[in-house]
Protein backbone atom coordinates (compact mmCIF):
# COMPACT_ATOMS: atom_id res chain seq x y z
CA UNK A 1 0.00 0.00 0.00
CA UNK A 2 1.25 3.41 -0.96
CA UNK A 3 0.08 5.18 2.17
CA UNK A 4 1.64 2.83 4.70
CA UNK A 5 4.88 2.76 2.68
CA UNK A 6 5.22 6.47 3.38
CA UNK A 7 4.56 7.88 -0.07
CA UNK A 8 1.59 10.24 -0.24
CA UNK A 9 -1.61 8.88 -1.76
CA UNK A 10 -2.62 10.77 -4.89
CA UNK A 11 -6.37 11.16 -5.45
CA UNK A 12 -7.40 12.94 -8.64
CA UNK A 13 -10.75 14.55 -9.41
CA UNK A 14 -12.17 13.42 -12.74
CA UNK A 15 -15.67 14.92 -12.80
CA UNK A 16 -17.23 17.63 -10.64
CA UNK A 17 -20.82 17.08 -11.73
CA UNK A 18 -22.91 15.14 -14.25
CA UNK A 19 -22.08 17.03 -17.43
CA UNK A 20 -18.54 18.10 -16.54
CA UNK A 21 -15.68 18.19 -19.10
CA UNK A 22 -15.39 14.74 -20.69
CA UNK A 23 -11.62 14.98 -21.32
CA UNK A 24 -10.76 15.56 -17.66
CA UNK A 25 -10.65 11.92 -16.44
CA UNK A 26 -8.64 10.87 -19.50
CA UNK A 27 -6.05 13.59 -18.87
CA UNK A 28 -5.92 12.75 -15.16
CA UNK A 29 -4.96 9.10 -15.81
CA UNK A 30 -2.53 9.98 -18.63
CA UNK A 31 -0.98 13.24 -17.39
CA UNK A 32 1.09 11.89 -14.49
CA UNK A 33 1.06 9.44 -11.60
CA UNK A 34 -2.17 9.07 -9.61
CA UNK A 35 -3.42 6.30 -7.32
CA UNK A 36 -7.15 7.04 -7.37
CA UNK A 37 -9.57 8.78 -9.67
CA UNK A 38 -12.74 10.09 -7.98
CA UNK A 39 -15.73 11.07 -10.08
CA UNK A 40 -18.66 12.88 -8.50
CA UNK A 41 -21.88 12.91 -10.51
CA UNK A 42 -24.67 13.61 -8.06
CA UNK A 43 -26.21 16.97 -7.25
CA UNK A 44 -29.34 17.40 -5.14
CA UNK A 45 -31.86 16.92 -7.95
CA UNK A 46 -29.86 14.49 -10.08
CA UNK A 47 -31.35 11.44 -8.37
CA UNK A 48 -34.90 12.40 -9.36
CA UNK A 49 -33.88 12.86 -13.02
CA UNK A 50 -32.31 9.40 -12.92
CA UNK A 51 -35.39 7.94 -11.23
CA UNK A 52 -37.55 9.34 -14.02
CA UNK A 53 -35.28 7.74 -16.63
CA UNK A 54 -35.39 4.43 -14.77
CA UNK A 55 -39.18 4.44 -14.65
CA UNK A 56 -39.21 4.60 -18.47
CA UNK A 57 -36.37 2.11 -18.93
CA UNK A 58 -35.43 -0.25 -16.05
CA UNK A 59 -31.84 -0.54 -17.35
CA UNK A 60 -31.35 3.26 -17.04
CA UNK A 61 -31.11 5.44 -13.91
CA UNK A 62 -27.37 6.11 -13.71
CA UNK A 63 -24.88 8.55 -15.26
CA UNK A 64 -24.63 7.00 -18.71
CA UNK A 65 -21.60 9.16 -19.63
CA UNK A 66 -19.61 7.19 -17.08
CA UNK A 67 -19.59 4.02 -19.18
CA UNK A 68 -17.99 5.37 -22.41
CA UNK A 69 -15.57 7.30 -20.19
CA UNK A 70 -14.57 4.09 -18.47
CA UNK A 71 -14.16 2.47 -21.86
CA UNK A 72 -11.60 5.14 -22.73
CA UNK A 73 -9.64 4.99 -19.48
CA UNK A 74 -9.87 1.34 -18.37
CA UNK A 75 -6.75 0.22 -20.31
CA UNK A 76 -4.70 2.88 -18.48
CA UNK A 77 -6.47 2.22 -15.18
CA UNK A 78 -5.57 -1.48 -15.32
CA UNK A 79 -2.04 -0.98 -16.67
CA UNK A 80 -1.15 1.62 -14.01
CA UNK A 81 -3.08 0.12 -11.09
CA UNK A 82 -5.29 3.20 -10.69
CA UNK A 83 -8.53 2.66 -8.76
CA UNK A 84 -11.74 4.56 -9.45
CA UNK A 85 -14.42 5.69 -6.97
CA UNK A 86 -17.66 7.12 -8.34
CA UNK A 87 -21.27 7.72 -7.39
CA UNK A 88 -22.23 7.44 -11.07
CA UNK A 89 -24.58 4.57 -10.11
CA UNK A 90 -27.36 7.01 -9.24
CA UNK A 91 -30.60 5.09 -8.61
CA UNK A 92 -29.32 2.02 -10.47
CA UNK A 93 -25.77 1.25 -9.30
CA UNK A 94 -26.15 -2.41 -10.34
CA UNK A 95 -27.05 -1.44 -13.91
CA UNK A 96 -24.07 0.93 -13.97
CA UNK A 97 -21.65 -1.68 -12.58
CA UNK A 98 -22.85 -4.25 -15.11
CA UNK A 99 -22.42 -1.78 -17.97
CA UNK A 100 -18.82 -1.19 -16.84
CA UNK A 101 -18.22 -4.95 -16.76
CA UNK A 102 -19.63 -5.24 -20.29
CA UNK A 103 -17.17 -2.68 -21.69
CA UNK A 104 -14.35 -4.33 -19.73
CA UNK A 105 -15.08 -7.65 -21.48
CA UNK A 106 -15.17 -5.91 -24.85
CA UNK A 107 -11.75 -4.33 -24.23
CA UNK A 108 -10.08 -7.71 -23.50
CA UNK A 109 -7.98 -6.23 -20.71
CA UNK A 110 -4.76 -8.04 -19.68
CA UNK A 111 -6.39 -9.15 -16.41
CA UNK A 112 -9.77 -9.42 -14.79
CA UNK A 113 -11.48 -6.22 -13.70
CA UNK A 114 -13.12 -6.12 -10.30
CA UNK A 115 -16.04 -3.76 -9.81
CA UNK A 116 -17.26 -2.97 -6.31
CA UNK A 117 -21.00 -2.37 -6.16
CA UNK A 118 -22.42 -0.39 -3.24
CA UNK A 119 -26.19 -0.41 -2.67
CA UNK A 120 -28.63 0.18 0.16
CA UNK A 121 -28.94 3.96 -0.04
CA UNK A 122 -32.22 3.73 -1.97
CA UNK A 123 -35.10 3.82 0.54
CA UNK A 124 -37.97 4.58 -1.86
CA UNK A 125 -39.47 1.13 -1.25
CA UNK A 126 -39.09 1.48 2.52
CA UNK A 127 -40.71 4.91 3.01
CA UNK A 128 -44.11 3.68 4.21
CA UNK A 129 -42.45 1.27 6.60
CA UNK A 130 -40.22 4.04 7.98
CA UNK A 131 -43.10 6.52 8.33
CA UNK A 132 -45.28 3.80 9.88
CA UNK A 133 -42.61 3.11 12.50
CA UNK A 134 -42.49 6.74 13.58
CA UNK A 135 -39.81 8.31 11.34
CA UNK A 136 -41.47 11.53 10.10
CA UNK A 137 -38.72 12.34 7.52
CA UNK A 138 -39.67 15.98 8.04
CA UNK A 139 -38.39 18.66 5.65
CA UNK A 140 -35.26 20.12 7.28
CA UNK A 141 -36.18 23.61 6.07
CA UNK A 142 -39.93 23.76 6.76
CA UNK A 143 -40.46 21.03 9.38
CA UNK A 144 -43.39 19.56 7.44
CA UNK A 145 -43.77 15.76 7.69
CA UNK A 146 -43.18 13.73 4.51
CA UNK A 147 -46.72 12.38 4.68
CA UNK A 148 -47.79 15.80 3.24
CA UNK A 149 -46.26 14.90 -0.15
CA UNK A 150 -45.89 11.13 0.19
CA UNK A 151 -48.00 10.29 -2.88
CA UNK A 152 -45.83 12.52 -5.07
CA UNK A 153 -42.40 11.20 -4.01
CA UNK A 154 -40.22 10.13 -6.96
CA UNK A 155 -36.96 9.14 -5.27
CA UNK A 156 -35.56 8.82 -1.75
CA UNK A 157 -31.93 8.11 -0.96
CA UNK A 158 -29.89 8.24 2.23
CA UNK A 159 -26.44 9.79 1.98
CA UNK A 160 -23.87 7.09 2.71
CA UNK A 161 -20.34 7.86 3.86
CA UNK A 162 -16.97 6.28 3.21
CA UNK A 163 -17.49 2.93 4.97
CA UNK A 164 -18.80 0.88 1.99
CA UNK A 165 -16.10 2.37 -0.26
CA UNK A 166 -13.36 1.33 2.16
CA UNK A 167 -14.92 -2.15 2.26
CA UNK A 168 -15.04 -2.40 -1.55
CA UNK A 169 -11.40 -1.29 -1.86
CA UNK A 170 -10.38 -3.79 0.80
CA UNK A 171 -12.20 -6.42 -1.27
CA UNK A 172 -9.92 -5.60 -4.20
CA UNK A 173 -12.25 -3.46 -6.33
CA UNK A 174 -10.57 -1.62 -9.21
CA UNK A 175 -13.70 0.45 -9.77
CA UNK A 176 -16.21 1.27 -7.03
CA UNK A 177 -19.68 2.20 -8.26
CA UNK A 178 -22.17 3.62 -5.74
CA UNK A 179 -25.52 5.32 -5.52
CA UNK A 180 -25.98 8.27 -3.15
CA UNK A 181 -22.59 8.30 -1.47
CA UNK A 182 -21.47 11.80 -0.43
CA UNK A 183 -19.06 13.64 -2.69
CA UNK A 184 -16.55 13.70 0.17
CA UNK A 185 -16.90 9.96 0.83
CA UNK A 186 -15.43 9.27 -2.61
CA UNK A 187 -12.16 10.84 -1.42
CA UNK A 188 -12.28 9.77 2.24
CA UNK A 189 -12.70 6.11 1.24
CA UNK A 190 -9.36 5.84 -0.60
CA UNK A 191 -7.47 7.80 2.07
CA UNK A 192 -8.79 5.71 4.98
CA UNK A 193 -8.24 2.49 3.06
CA UNK A 194 -4.62 3.39 2.29
CA UNK A 195 -3.66 4.57 5.75
CA UNK A 196 -5.79 2.11 7.68
CA UNK A 197 -7.00 4.87 9.99
CA UNK A 198 -9.80 4.33 12.48
CA UNK A 199 -13.08 5.75 11.21
CA UNK A 200 -13.40 7.36 14.67
CA UNK A 201 -10.18 9.38 14.37
CA UNK A 202 -12.26 12.54 14.02
CA UNK A 203 -9.45 14.92 13.04
CA UNK A 204 -8.42 12.55 10.24
CA UNK A 205 -12.05 12.25 9.14
CA UNK A 206 -12.29 16.04 9.08
CA UNK A 207 -9.04 16.34 7.10
CA UNK A 208 -10.23 13.84 4.48
CA UNK A 209 -13.59 15.60 4.34
CA UNK A 210 -11.90 18.91 3.58
CA UNK A 211 -9.74 17.22 0.94
CA UNK A 212 -12.88 15.78 -0.61
CA UNK A 213 -14.69 19.13 -0.49
CA UNK A 214 -11.77 20.85 -2.24
CA UNK A 215 -11.71 18.46 -5.22
CA UNK A 216 -15.39 17.48 -5.48
CA UNK A 217 -16.19 20.33 -7.89
CA UNK A 218 -13.32 19.50 -10.22
CA UNK A 219 -11.52 22.46 -11.78
CA UNK A 220 -13.42 24.94 -9.60
CA UNK A 221 -10.49 24.46 -7.17
CA UNK A 222 -7.78 24.80 -9.82
CA UNK A 223 -8.52 27.99 -11.72
CA UNK A 224 -11.99 27.41 -13.15
CA UNK A 225 -14.53 30.04 -12.07
CA UNK A 226 -11.72 31.76 -10.12
CA UNK A 227 -12.56 35.42 -9.54
CA UNK A 228 -9.30 36.67 -8.02
CA UNK A 229 -7.01 37.68 -10.88
CA UNK A 230 -9.12 35.83 -13.45
CA UNK A 231 -7.40 37.51 -16.40
CA UNK A 232 -4.07 36.00 -15.40
CA UNK A 233 -5.39 32.40 -15.22
CA UNK A 234 -3.83 30.82 -18.32
CA UNK A 235 -4.49 27.66 -20.26
CA UNK A 236 -8.16 27.09 -19.41
CA UNK A 237 -8.52 25.27 -22.74
CA UNK A 238 -6.75 22.43 -20.95
CA UNK A 239 -7.50 22.93 -17.24
CA UNK A 240 -5.62 20.69 -14.83
CA UNK A 241 -8.23 19.14 -12.56
CA UNK A 242 -7.18 19.10 -8.88
CA UNK A 243 -5.21 16.30 -7.25
CA UNK A 244 -4.89 15.72 -3.49
CA UNK A 245 -1.63 14.24 -2.18
CA UNK A 246 -2.62 12.89 1.23
CA UNK A 247 0.08 12.28 3.85
CA UNK A 248 0.10 9.92 6.82
CA UNK A 249 -0.16 12.77 9.33
CA UNK A 250 -3.53 13.91 7.95
CA UNK A 251 -2.17 16.92 6.09
CA UNK A 252 -2.32 17.07 2.32
CA UNK A 253 -1.21 19.06 -0.71
CA UNK A 254 -3.57 20.22 -3.45
CA UNK A 255 -1.93 20.28 -6.88
CA UNK A 256 -2.50 19.40 -10.57
CA UNK A 257 -0.55 17.68 -13.32
CA UNK A 258 2.41 19.59 -14.79
CA UNK A 259 1.83 21.17 -18.19
CA UNK A 260 -1.88 21.71 -17.64
CA UNK A 261 -3.68 25.05 -17.54
CA UNK A 262 -5.43 26.79 -14.67
CA UNK A 263 -3.81 27.46 -11.31
CA UNK A 264 -3.68 25.96 -7.84
CA UNK A 265 -3.13 28.77 -5.32
CA UNK A 266 -4.26 29.77 -1.85
CA UNK A 267 -6.87 31.94 -3.60
CA UNK A 268 -8.19 29.10 -5.81
CA UNK A 269 -8.44 26.69 -2.87
CA UNK A 270 -10.03 29.30 -0.59
CA UNK A 271 -12.74 30.14 -3.14
CA UNK A 272 -13.62 26.45 -3.36
CA UNK A 273 -13.58 26.02 0.44
CA UNK A 274 -16.25 28.69 0.93
CA UNK A 275 -18.42 27.35 -1.91
CA UNK A 276 -21.84 26.16 -0.65
CA UNK A 277 -20.70 26.72 2.92
CA UNK A 278 -23.08 26.91 5.87
CA UNK A 279 -21.79 27.21 9.45
CA UNK A 280 -18.03 26.72 8.94
CA UNK A 281 -17.61 25.21 12.40
CA UNK A 282 -19.83 22.27 11.62
CA UNK A 283 -19.56 20.88 8.12
CA UNK A 284 -21.63 17.73 8.66
CA UNK A 285 -21.14 14.54 6.64
CA UNK A 286 -22.14 10.94 7.41
CA UNK A 287 -18.52 10.34 8.51
CA UNK A 288 -18.00 13.19 10.97
CA UNK A 289 -18.15 16.94 11.50
CA UNK A 290 -15.32 19.12 10.15
CA UNK A 291 -14.41 22.53 11.57
CA UNK A 292 -13.46 24.72 8.61
CA UNK A 293 -12.17 27.46 10.95
CA UNK A 294 -9.17 25.21 11.71
CA UNK A 295 -7.97 24.84 8.12
CA UNK A 296 -4.47 26.24 7.49
CA UNK A 297 -3.38 26.92 3.91
CA UNK A 298 0.09 27.83 2.73
CA UNK A 299 1.78 27.96 -0.66
CA UNK A 300 4.14 25.02 -1.21
CA UNK A 301 5.61 25.69 -4.64
CA UNK A 302 4.20 26.24 -8.08
CA UNK A 303 0.58 25.04 -8.27
CA UNK A 304 0.91 23.46 -4.83
CA UNK A 305 -0.97 24.42 -1.65
CA UNK A 306 -0.40 22.63 1.66
CA UNK A 307 -3.49 22.10 3.84
CA UNK A 308 -3.07 21.22 7.52
CA UNK A 309 -4.29 21.70 11.08
CA UNK A 310 -7.82 20.43 10.48
CA UNK A 311 -9.88 19.46 13.50
CA UNK A 312 -13.19 17.66 13.64
CA UNK A 313 -15.77 16.02 15.85
CA UNK A 314 -17.80 12.80 15.97
CA UNK A 315 -20.42 11.82 13.44
CA UNK A 316 -24.04 12.50 14.32
CA UNK A 317 -26.60 9.69 14.89
CA UNK A 318 -28.61 10.86 11.87
CA UNK A 319 -28.08 10.53 8.13
CA UNK A 320 -29.36 13.04 5.62
CA UNK A 321 -31.94 11.77 3.16
CA UNK A 322 -32.43 13.31 -0.26
CA UNK A 323 -36.06 13.04 -1.37
CA UNK A 324 -37.45 14.31 -4.68
CA UNK A 325 -41.17 14.83 -5.27
CA UNK A 326 -43.34 16.07 -8.10
CA UNK A 327 -44.24 19.73 -7.57
CA UNK A 328 -45.87 21.00 -10.78
CA UNK A 329 -44.91 22.79 -14.00
CA UNK A 330 -42.89 25.76 -15.22
CA UNK A 331 -41.85 27.48 -18.44
CA UNK A 332 -39.57 30.36 -19.36
CA UNK A 333 -40.07 32.53 -22.46
CA UNK A 334 -37.66 35.10 -23.90
CA UNK A 335 -37.69 37.87 -26.51
CA UNK A 336 -34.99 40.43 -27.41
CA UNK A 337 -35.71 44.17 -27.78
CA UNK A 338 -33.33 46.51 -29.65
CA UNK A 339 -32.13 50.11 -29.40
CA UNK A 340 -33.40 52.75 -28.96
CA UNK A 341 -35.13 52.54 -25.58
CA UNK A 342 -34.68 48.76 -25.51
CA UNK A 343 -35.40 48.50 -21.79
CA UNK A 344 -38.60 50.58 -22.01
CA UNK A 345 -39.87 48.42 -24.89
CA UNK A 346 -39.14 45.22 -22.97
CA UNK A 347 -40.93 46.58 -19.89
CA UNK A 348 -43.94 47.54 -22.02
CA UNK A 349 -44.03 44.03 -23.51
CA UNK A 350 -43.96 42.52 -20.02
CA UNK A 351 -46.95 44.67 -19.00
CA UNK A 352 -48.90 43.57 -22.09
CA UNK A 353 -48.09 39.91 -21.46
CA UNK A 354 -49.11 40.01 -17.79
CA UNK A 355 -52.36 41.81 -18.63
CA UNK A 356 -53.21 39.19 -21.26
CA UNK A 357 -52.57 36.35 -18.81
CA UNK A 358 -54.79 38.05 -16.21
CA UNK A 359 -57.54 38.71 -18.77
CA UNK A 360 -57.52 34.99 -19.60
CA UNK A 361 -58.12 34.27 -15.91
CA UNK A 362 -54.86 32.35 -15.57
CA UNK A 363 -53.26 32.18 -12.14
CA UNK A 364 -49.76 31.13 -11.19
CA UNK A 365 -47.79 30.35 -8.09
CA UNK A 366 -45.18 32.77 -9.49
CA UNK A 367 -44.58 35.01 -12.52
CA UNK A 368 -40.99 36.26 -12.56
CA UNK A 369 -39.73 38.85 -15.03
CA UNK A 370 -36.06 39.56 -15.60
CA UNK A 371 -34.47 41.95 -18.08
CA UNK A 372 -31.25 40.28 -19.17
CA UNK A 373 -28.69 43.04 -19.67
CA UNK A 374 -30.22 45.11 -16.87
CA UNK A 375 -31.18 43.17 -13.75
CA UNK A 376 -31.04 39.37 -14.25
CA UNK A 377 -27.90 38.81 -12.20
CA UNK A 378 -27.79 41.60 -9.61
CA UNK A 379 -31.37 42.85 -9.46
CA UNK A 380 -31.72 46.57 -8.75
CA UNK A 381 -28.04 46.75 -7.68
CA UNK A 382 -27.08 47.09 -11.34
CA UNK A 383 -28.62 50.56 -11.42
CA UNK A 384 -30.77 52.25 -14.07
CA UNK A 385 -29.82 51.38 -17.65
CA UNK A 386 -29.08 53.93 -20.33
CA UNK A 387 -31.55 54.56 -23.15
CA UNK A 388 -28.61 53.82 -25.46
CA UNK A 389 -28.40 50.16 -24.33
CA UNK A 390 -28.08 48.17 -27.61
CA UNK A 391 -30.49 45.43 -26.55
CA UNK A 392 -32.33 43.87 -23.63
CA UNK A 393 -33.67 40.34 -23.36
CA UNK A 394 -37.10 40.05 -21.78
CA UNK A 395 -37.19 36.81 -19.82
CA UNK A 396 -40.45 35.78 -18.19
CA UNK A 397 -40.91 32.58 -16.18
CA UNK A 398 -44.11 31.12 -14.72
CA UNK A 399 -44.80 28.16 -12.49
CA UNK A 400 -48.05 26.53 -11.39
CA UNK A 401 -49.29 23.30 -9.83
CA UNK A 402 -51.45 22.63 -12.91
CA UNK A 403 -50.16 22.17 -16.43
CA UNK A 404 -52.89 24.16 -18.25
CA UNK A 405 -51.93 27.73 -17.24
CA UNK A 406 -48.25 27.03 -17.97
CA UNK A 407 -49.13 25.51 -21.33
CA UNK A 408 -51.20 28.58 -22.27
CA UNK A 409 -48.36 30.91 -21.20
CA UNK A 410 -46.04 29.25 -23.73
CA UNK A 411 -48.48 30.31 -26.49
CA UNK A 412 -48.54 33.97 -25.36
CA UNK A 413 -44.88 34.78 -26.14
CA UNK A 414 -44.76 34.58 -29.94
CA UNK A 415 -47.85 36.78 -30.48
CA UNK A 416 -45.99 39.67 -28.81
CA UNK A 417 -43.74 39.88 -31.88
CA UNK A 418 -46.58 41.25 -34.06
CA UNK A 419 -48.96 42.55 -31.40
CA UNK A 420 -46.65 44.31 -28.93
CA UNK A 421 -43.91 46.94 -28.74
CA UNK A 422 -41.52 47.27 -31.73
CA UNK A 423 -37.87 46.32 -32.46
CA UNK A 424 -38.30 42.77 -31.19
CA UNK A 425 -36.41 39.69 -32.35
CA UNK A 426 -34.82 36.53 -31.03
CA UNK A 427 -37.68 34.10 -31.38
CA UNK A 428 -35.94 31.48 -33.52
CA UNK A 429 -36.24 28.78 -30.86
CA UNK A 430 -40.03 28.43 -31.12
CA UNK A 431 -42.53 28.06 -28.31
CA UNK A 432 -41.00 27.61 -24.83
CA UNK A 433 -41.18 24.07 -23.43
CA UNK A 434 -43.36 23.16 -20.44
CA UNK A 435 -41.08 21.55 -17.86
CA UNK A 436 -42.07 19.32 -14.98
CA UNK A 437 -40.82 20.69 -11.66
CA UNK A 438 -39.36 18.11 -9.32
CA UNK A 439 -38.68 19.58 -5.91
CA UNK A 440 -36.15 18.63 -3.28
CA UNK A 441 -37.09 17.53 0.22
CA UNK A 442 -34.09 17.21 2.56
CA UNK A 443 -34.72 15.12 5.68
CA UNK A 444 -32.91 13.21 8.41
CA UNK A 445 -33.17 9.56 9.41
CA UNK A 446 -31.62 7.50 12.19
CA UNK A 447 -28.50 5.90 10.73
CA UNK A 448 -29.39 2.57 12.39
CA UNK A 449 -32.28 2.32 9.93
CA UNK A 450 -29.92 2.55 6.97
CA UNK A 451 -26.53 1.06 7.77
CA UNK A 452 -27.68 -2.58 8.21
CA UNK A 453 -29.12 -2.43 4.67
CA UNK A 454 -25.91 -1.27 2.95
CA UNK A 455 -24.38 -3.98 0.75
CA UNK A 456 -21.00 -4.24 -0.92
CA UNK A 457 -20.49 -6.81 -3.69
CA UNK A 458 -17.43 -7.48 -5.83
CA UNK A 459 -18.25 -8.38 -9.44
CA UNK A 460 -15.66 -9.59 -11.96
CA UNK A 461 -15.19 -9.56 -15.71
Amino acid sequence: MTGQAGRPVRIAAGQGFWGDWLEAPVRQVQGGPIDYLMMDYLAEVTMSIMQKQKSRDPSAGYARDFVPLMERILPDVVAKGIRVTSNAGGVNPRGCAEAVLTVARKLSLPRKLRVGLVSGDDILGRLDDLIGRGHPLADMETGRPLSDVRDRVLSANAYLGMAPIVEALRGGADVVVTGRVTDTGLTLGPIFHEFGWSSEDWDKVAAGTVAGHIIECGAQASGGNLLKGWRSVKGLENPGFPIVEAAADGSFVVTKHPGTGGVVSVASVTEQLVYEMGDPRSYITPDGVADFTTIQLRPAGRDRVRVSGIRGGPRTPMLKVSIAYFWGYKAVGTLVYAWPDAYDKAKAADRVLRRRLADLGLTYDQILTEFVGVDATHGRLGGAPSAELPEVQLRVGVRARERAPVERFTREIAPLVLTGPPSVTGFAGGRPAVEEVVAYWPALVDRREIEPHVRVEILEA
Binding site: L227, V274, Y275, M277, G278, T294, L368, E370, A376, L381
Partner: protein, 129 residues
Protein backbone atom coordinates in the same frame (compact mmCIF):
# COMPACT_ATOMS: atom_id res chain seq x y z
CA UNK B 1 -16.86 34.23 17.27
CA UNK B 2 -18.73 37.16 18.79
CA UNK B 3 -16.15 39.77 19.69
CA UNK B 4 -16.58 43.29 20.92
CA UNK B 5 -14.96 45.72 18.53
CA UNK B 6 -13.66 48.97 19.94
CA UNK B 7 -15.32 51.92 18.27
CA UNK B 8 -12.71 53.87 16.35
CA UNK B 9 -12.15 57.47 17.48
CA UNK B 10 -14.29 60.03 15.73
CA UNK B 11 -11.37 61.63 13.91
CA UNK B 12 -10.24 58.24 12.56
CA UNK B 13 -13.77 57.46 11.40
CA UNK B 14 -14.14 60.73 9.58
CA UNK B 15 -10.91 60.21 7.60
CA UNK B 16 -12.49 57.61 5.35
CA UNK B 17 -14.18 57.39 2.01
CA UNK B 18 -16.61 54.81 0.62
CA UNK B 19 -15.03 52.10 -1.51
CA UNK B 20 -16.58 49.08 -3.20
CA UNK B 21 -15.70 45.71 -1.71
CA UNK B 22 -14.32 44.60 -5.10
CA UNK B 23 -11.10 46.48 -4.24
CA UNK B 24 -10.76 44.70 -0.90
CA UNK B 25 -12.06 41.16 -1.42
CA UNK B 26 -12.83 38.36 -3.81
CA UNK B 27 -15.80 36.05 -3.42
CA UNK B 28 -17.58 32.87 -4.44
CA UNK B 29 -21.22 31.99 -3.92
CA UNK B 30 -23.40 28.91 -4.06
CA UNK B 31 -26.73 27.57 -2.84
CA UNK B 32 -28.39 25.38 -0.22
CA UNK B 33 -32.07 25.15 -0.99
CA UNK B 34 -33.53 28.66 -1.03
CA UNK B 35 -30.46 30.14 0.71
CA UNK B 36 -27.47 31.59 -1.14
CA UNK B 37 -24.08 31.68 0.54
CA UNK B 38 -21.36 34.19 -0.26
CA UNK B 39 -17.80 33.60 0.91
CA UNK B 40 -16.06 36.98 1.04
CA UNK B 41 -12.24 36.63 1.07
CA UNK B 42 -9.81 39.47 1.83
CA UNK B 43 -7.51 40.24 -1.11
CA UNK B 44 -4.71 41.06 1.39
CA UNK B 45 -4.48 39.71 4.96
CA UNK B 46 -4.46 43.27 6.37
CA UNK B 47 -7.90 43.94 4.85
CA UNK B 48 -9.56 41.22 6.91
CA UNK B 49 -10.11 43.24 10.14
CA UNK B 50 -11.68 45.99 8.04
CA UNK B 51 -14.10 43.48 6.51
CA UNK B 52 -14.95 42.07 9.96
CA UNK B 53 -15.65 45.58 11.27
CA UNK B 54 -17.52 47.06 8.32
CA UNK B 55 -19.27 44.23 6.47
CA UNK B 56 -21.81 43.57 9.19
CA UNK B 57 -24.86 41.35 8.69
CA UNK B 58 -27.09 44.43 9.11
CA UNK B 59 -25.27 46.31 6.32
CA UNK B 60 -25.36 43.28 4.03
CA UNK B 61 -29.09 42.90 4.71
CA UNK B 62 -29.57 46.58 3.80
CA UNK B 63 -27.48 46.16 0.62
CA UNK B 64 -29.70 43.26 -0.50
CA UNK B 65 -33.01 44.65 0.82
CA UNK B 66 -35.97 43.40 -1.19
CA UNK B 67 -33.77 40.64 -2.66
CA UNK B 68 -33.12 38.46 0.42
CA UNK B 69 -34.85 37.96 3.78
CA UNK B 70 -32.43 37.45 6.64
CA UNK B 71 -28.63 37.42 6.71
CA UNK B 72 -26.28 35.35 8.90
CA UNK B 73 -22.53 35.90 9.10
CA UNK B 74 -19.73 33.52 10.12
CA UNK B 75 -16.05 34.39 10.57
CA UNK B 76 -13.13 32.34 9.24
CA UNK B 77 -10.04 34.25 10.42
CA UNK B 78 -7.85 31.33 9.29
CA UNK B 79 -8.89 31.92 5.67
CA UNK B 80 -9.38 35.70 6.13
CA UNK B 81 -12.91 35.12 4.98
CA UNK B 82 -16.47 35.85 6.06
CA UNK B 83 -19.31 33.55 5.10
CA UNK B 84 -22.74 35.07 4.58
CA UNK B 85 -25.99 33.14 4.37
CA UNK B 86 -28.62 35.07 2.40
CA UNK B 87 -32.00 33.55 3.18
CA UNK B 88 -34.95 33.32 0.77
CA UNK B 89 -32.68 34.64 -1.98
CA UNK B 90 -33.42 32.20 -4.81
CA UNK B 91 -37.17 32.21 -5.59
CA UNK B 92 -37.47 28.80 -3.95
CA UNK B 93 -34.11 27.54 -5.20
CA UNK B 94 -33.18 24.34 -6.98
CA UNK B 95 -35.54 23.30 -9.76
CA UNK B 96 -38.48 25.39 -8.50
CA UNK B 97 -36.75 28.73 -9.06
CA UNK B 98 -37.48 30.77 -12.18
CA UNK B 99 -34.42 32.98 -11.73
CA UNK B 100 -31.51 33.06 -14.20
CA UNK B 101 -29.30 32.70 -11.14
CA UNK B 102 -31.33 29.92 -9.52
CA UNK B 103 -28.23 28.57 -7.78
CA UNK B 104 -26.94 31.89 -6.47
CA UNK B 105 -23.71 31.72 -8.45
CA UNK B 106 -23.38 35.47 -8.92
CA UNK B 107 -24.51 36.78 -5.55
CA UNK B 108 -20.73 36.82 -5.02
CA UNK B 109 -20.11 39.81 -7.26
CA UNK B 110 -23.40 41.39 -6.21
CA UNK B 111 -21.93 41.65 -2.70
CA UNK B 112 -18.70 43.12 -4.12
CA UNK B 113 -20.76 46.12 -5.30
CA UNK B 114 -21.33 47.11 -1.68
CA UNK B 115 -19.43 50.16 -0.41
CA UNK B 116 -17.77 50.36 2.99
CA UNK B 117 -15.89 53.28 4.61
CA UNK B 118 -12.15 52.79 4.03
CA UNK B 119 -9.31 54.87 5.54
CA UNK B 120 -8.31 57.58 3.06
CA UNK B 121 -4.70 56.49 2.57
CA UNK B 122 -5.73 52.90 1.81
CA UNK B 123 -8.54 54.03 -0.48
CA UNK B 124 -6.10 56.19 -2.45
CA UNK B 125 -3.61 53.32 -2.76
CA UNK B 126 -6.29 50.87 -3.94
CA UNK B 127 -7.84 53.32 -6.39
CA UNK B 128 -4.39 53.77 -7.98
CA UNK B 129 -3.75 50.04 -8.41
Amino acid sequence: MAKTVRRPAKSARSATRPLQLRYLAHARSGDKGNTANVGLIALEPEFYPLLVREVTPARVARHFRGMVHGVDRFELPNLRALNFLLHEALDGGGTISLKTDAQGKVYSTALLRMEIPVPLALARRLARS
